[in-house]
Amino acid sequence: MKYTILVNEGPYQHQSADTALQFTRAALEKGHEIFRVFFYHDGVNNGTRLSVPPADDRLIQKSWSELAEKHGLDLVICIAAAQRRGLMDADEAKRQGLDANNIAPGFRISGLGQLVEGGIQSDRLVVFGD
């Protein structure tokens, strides 16, 4: 089965951010294909590399980055939602004249068309959010 995953909630704020990660990991372990993981609404915050939770807590953003590296996942952050919430890659930061960027490894920023394409190309689109 080919899946696209939509993550609509931020890390540490809502269980669905953890559930999306666990679902994706489980699907890969079962041999399914993840066509794309798309991050929208506050879900974009799953892709910031500047998150530093207390040492005894889980590292949600890092877990996504590691999973992406291991399985070649396509982790896409919505550009409009990201800009509202202060997530920038290096190119966009430069374009906006900002002095920092904060995208975690394995993530890329792109448009909502990537989500719609995921719906078209996948057997299932699974939404995680409130």
Binding site: Y40, H41, R84, L112, G113, L115, V116, E117, G119, L125
Partner: protein, 134 residues
């Protein structure tokens, strides 16, 4: 690219959270992909298409006029839950008059809003291939 039945399910109030506004942004993008797109309004989502919205005091932009443009994007099926309306003391008269011009019928203006009960909503959902809920 193949064509699928896409349904966007709107369940939340238009203001107070960003879900409704950002859901509408996806809907508009989906139109560019020439998919068979429908919308459903359930629970507090029915408030998204009520008429006379004024969000000024909330600080959020009143984006309700955008719903009027959906017909121009060939998004012409807006399913509204009759139970959700009734539970909130609303009737169809409280909703915006959302219409589209039917190209197959000499561009006659037709209503986009389709009132459905829970059973009909479930049957419609069963025909969908991609369901996104916000």
């Amino acid at each position: 690219m193949s064509t699928k039945n896409f349904l966007f399910v709107n369940r939340k109030t238009p203001y107070g959270t960003v879900y409704a506004l950002e859901a509408l942004e996806v809907v508009l993008i989906s139109a560019a992909f020439e998919q068979n797109v429908s919308l459903a309004f359930i629970d507090d989502g029915v408030y998204q298409i009520t008429k006379g919205q004024n969000s000024k005091e909330t600080g959020m932009k009143n984006f309700s006029p955008t719903f009027r443009a959906l017909g121009d994007y060939d998004i012409t099926k807006l399913y509204v839950s009759t139970e959700s309306l009734a539970e909130r003391g609303l009737t169809v008269d409280d909703l915006m008059e959302l219409t589209y011009e039917d190209a197959d019928d000499d561009y006659a203006e037709k209503p986009s809003i389709i009132l459905v009960n829970r059973e009909e909503m479930a049957a419609m959902m069963a025909e969908q291939e991609v369901i996104l809920s916000f």
